[in-house]
């Protein structure tokens, strides 16, 4: 099973897909048609991107008659914004480097 974080990173790595996701974050729920009008790619391409985003849990679809509305699911970003543990790891490694430096400063 792929790491959920990898899936998130990969799904947001594509600039067109990220732009679609950002528009949904910014402007709220939209139809595929409305997204296509400003995406600069064809409707099938937009649908494909939305499929990838949906798989990653980043968007949810809602059917209403013949139209499908998509909305952003911000909760899916949680693994990316596990800020505390990431920064803790960052600083732990920096402390190691600081200690190395302090030893060198003795010489």
């Amino acid at each position: 099973m792929p790491d959920p974080q990898d899936v998130l990173f990969k799904s947001l790595a594509d600039p067109t897909r990220r732009a679609i996701f950002e528009r949904l974050c910014r402007e709220g729920e939209q139809t595929v048609g409305a997204l296509t009008a400003r995406a600069g790619v064809s409707q099938p391409a937009v649908s494909k991107h939305l499929g990838v985003l949906k798989k990653a849990g980043l968007v949810r679809d809602r059917h209403e008659g013949r139209l499908t509305h998509y909305s952003a699911q911000l909760g899916a970003l949680a693994p990316l914004i596990d800020w505390t543990s990431r920064m803790a790891g960052f600083w732990q490694s920096r402390f190691d480097h600081l200690e190395d430096l302090l030893k060198r400063m003795d010489q």
């Binding site: 909760g75 505390t84 920064m87 803790a88 790891g89 190691d96 600081l98 200690e99 430096l101």
Partner: protein, 136 residues
């Protein structure tokens, strides 16, 4: 999930270091030394001084908030819309110094911070992970 997203984030790293506060202070405040363990930047221990730390994955915008030589140093730490404050506290001990770093983050429920963060975070942390992996 919303509960965790609305908390203010805080990271604390503390260590007993067998060196004097004065020596650690130099490593925390002299740019040529900071570069060796943290990042390259034009730091000056002057309240209000703006500087940035640069790495191959991007830059961190900073502003000095507190300078108490050999005791306390704090600066803002902003990267890709992530606002936080980094505070260093040096306490002398019998064998050296107790060094404490606390980074207090923004509240992710604040829309402005979120808008800035959502685009940058994946890139920022992907790069950060690469850097950390190389270090290890």
């Amino acid at each position: 999930m919303n509960e965790t997203l609305t908390e203010t984030r805080s990271v604390v790293v503390e260590r007993e270091i067998p060196h004097t506060p004065e020596k650690i202070w130099r490593a925390l405040t002299q740019p040529h030394l900071i570069e060796e363990w943290l990042m390259k930047g034009d730091f000056k221990p002057v309240v209000g001084h703006r500087f940035d730390f640069r790495a191959d994955w991007g830059a961190v915008d900073c502003r000095v908030l507190t300078v108490e030589p050999n005791k306390t140093l704090s600066y803002t730490w902003a990267a890709y819309g992530l606002e936080s404050v980094v505070t260093w506290t040096l306490t002398p001990t019998r064998t050296g110094t107790h060094l404490r770093m606390e980074q207090t983050g923004f509240r992710p429920d604040q829309q402005q911070a979120y808008r800035g963060a959502k685009a940058g975070w994946p890139r920022f942390f992907a790069a950060l992970e690469q850097v950390v992996a190389r270090i290890d």
